[in-house]
């Protein structure tokens, strides 16, 4: 094959998003759940950049990807602070143990 069409990027992005979503739903370690969120954000970024390359008149898609990277960095920082606070309280980071409001 002498070229890579747009669809290949979208397929890679969709596969990454599904992997991230399944990881977020199935893993009980809060750290790995946060990493799965990062995977999903990266998949969305890849879609944005691929479509921006397809509609090459402006750079709005890449600008959106920039903002998503900034939001992901803020989200990772706040999420990890919550994980540290939870570890201080429960001595574990398994999400099953975060059931304070159930009892």
């Amino acid at each position: 094959m002498t070229y890579i069409p747009l669809e290949f990027y979208l397929i890679v992005s969709a596969v990454l998003f599904v992997i991230g979503a399944c990881g977020f739903l199935a893993r009980r370690n809060a750290l790995i759940a946060l990493m799965s969120i990062e995977l999903m954000l990266n998949a969305v970024n890849l879609t944005l950049v691929a479509f921006n390359r397809w509609l090459g008149d402006n750079h709005v898609g890449q600008m959106f990807a920039f903002f998503i990277i900034a939001v992901a960095a803020a989200e990772a920082a706040v999420g990890l602070a919550i994980v540290v606070a939870m570890f201080r309280l429960k001595k574990t980071v398994l999400t099953d143990t975060a059931d304070l409001l159930k009892h």
Partner: protein, 187 residues
């Protein structure tokens, strides 16, 4: 697209998907973090094949340089003690659930794609020479997106304050404050 670009696409796509699988399937959190790093490098390679060079550099700097390091730092603080499964041996059930979810979503996506049809390969045209350059992207960022850019600055400031508020150790609850101590001894 040159042969080098096609090779970079396949290599990066393979790295990204293998890293993603490793991230969600690894047993220990540190292996997940290293797999996430592989995914991020793969996505940066895909950005380069999409002639988004600045975004590839930012991806490496922000994700590999800051976010993954933050994850590794927290794993180091917590240690292996907090991240191991707590006694109950139900990882097999968790994996079965994950596999079933993955198969279900994949089948649904295939059905949707099969019904809608892809509609022929969309081949990229050759980009303009300045596409993806720092000048062109910076111009968009500081004209069309300048308001959002300023708001991102506010967001990062709020995130810093929030992290400090959440992560601070509440020593006042453990040790009585000096004034309270004096009052307690007086009474």
């Amino acid at each position: 697209m040159s042969a080098l670009g096609i090779g970079l696409f396949w290599l990066s796509a393979l790295l990204a998907i293998a890293g993603g699988l490793g991230t969600v399937a690894a047993k220990s959190a540190i292996r997940s973090a290293m797999s996430l790093l592989v995914t991020i490098l793969g996505i940066a390679g895909l950005y380069i094949t999409l002639s988004a060079q600045l975004l590839a550099a930012v991806q490496i700097i922000v994700y590999a340089g800051a976010v993954v390091v933050l994850f590794v730092f927290v794993i180091m603080l917590i240690g292996g003690r907090g991240t191991e499964p707590g006694g109950r041996d139900d990882t097999r059930r968790t994996r079965a659930v994950a596999t079933a979810l993955f198969a279900l979503v994949s089948a649904g996506a295939l059905v949707l794609i099969g019904r809608a049809g892809i509609g022929g390969p969309h081949v990229f045209e050759r980009p303009r020479p300045e596409f993806g350059s720092v000048y062109a992207l910076g111009r968009t960022l500081f004209t069309d997106g300048v308001f959002a850019f300023e708001l991102v600055g506010v967001l990062l400031l709020v995130a810093i304050v929030g992290v400090m508020a959440i992560g601070r150790a509440r020593r006042a609850a453990v040790l009585p404050a000096p004034t309270a101590n004096q009052e307690g001894s007086a009474s």
